[in-house]
């Protein structure tokens, strides 16, 4: 099981702030998780199909496509940041 979290405009588009997800055996990294989410119906398919820039974090540290994901991890997706 992993804890997914969505922020800002992505959260609004998905209509969800997060969820617990049983990690599919084929998903071992961030890129794999994105492909899995892109396969869902509705706004997930659009949000995760690669047409919009999304950033990712695993256990609250910036992640890339090849960052590994393990059961128990927290994985967050969000738009480019605009603080400061």
């Amino acid at each position: 099981m992993i804890r997914l979290r969505y922020f800002a405009s992505l959260r609004e588009r998905l209509g969800s702030a997060g969820e617990d997800l049983e990690l599919p055996p084929a998903v071992t990294d961030v890129a794999g998780l994105i492909r899995h989410l892109a396969g869902r119906d509705g706004p997930w398919g659009v949000a995760f199909n690669g047409t919009q820039v999304l950033l990712a974090a695993v256990n609250q540290e910036a992640a890339k496509g090849d960052t590994p994901i393990h059961p128990g991890d927290e994985v967050a997706f969000f738009p480019p940041v605009t603080g400061g």
Binding site: P80, T82, G83, G84
Partner: protein
């Protein structure tokens, strides 16, 4: 060494700077960046700003940025304060204050920290206008600044110094 706060409460920039330099006679320079909530963006009147953040990751990201600045330059102290939640026009939004013995380190570290904060720290601004709420888009210039720091050797001059050097070299070439 660095002190970081992510808070909903307003802060007093003058009091923060005073606290940073108090009691340390080695400090010869204090450089501050104060980010303020502007009243106008893209021509529409902005009434309020809402700052969303990722609790836990914001503090970690800011601590990592400050630690890198402390490794690159000789610093006596760093203080970063970032508001979250609702802000009104002219509210101080973010303070990056850096103390050092000599001004070069303080100037460069301050610029580095705010440039990295703007591309790495998980905050998202939402403008609340009379027409409704609108998420602020990330600016390409912020990423260009971060890339220049990342590619520069450790202890290197600031983006501004590099630009000046490139201009001088272009003039010499004629």
């Amino acid at each position: 060494m660095g002190s970081i706060s992510v808070q909903a409460e307003p802060f007093d920039p003058a009091a923060e700077q005073q606290a940073l330099r108090a009691g340390n006679p080695r400090i010869g320079a204090l450089v501050s960046f104060l980010g303020l909530m502007r009243d106008l963006n893209e021509g529409d009147a902005v009434s309020r700003l809402y700052l969303e953040h990722y609790p836990g990751m914001t503090e970690k990201a800011l601590a990592a940025i400050v630690a890198e600045a402390e490794a690159r330059w000789a610093l006596e102290g760093v203080r970063v304060v970032h508001r979250v939640g609702e802000l009104r026009p002219e509210d101080p939004m973010v303070l990056v204050a850096v103390a050092s013995q000599h001004r070069g380190d303080a100037f460069r570290a301050c610029e580095f920290i705010i440039d990295y904060l703007k591309t790495q720290a998980p905050f998202w601004k939402q403008e609340i206008t009379p027409q409704g709420a609108r998420w602020v888009e990330a600016r390409p210039g912020d990423h260009a600044a971060e890339v220049r720091w990342r590619d520069a050797p450790v202890g290197a001059a600031s983006c501004r110094d590099q630009a000046i050097q490139e201009h001088d070299e272009a003039c010499i070439r004629g």
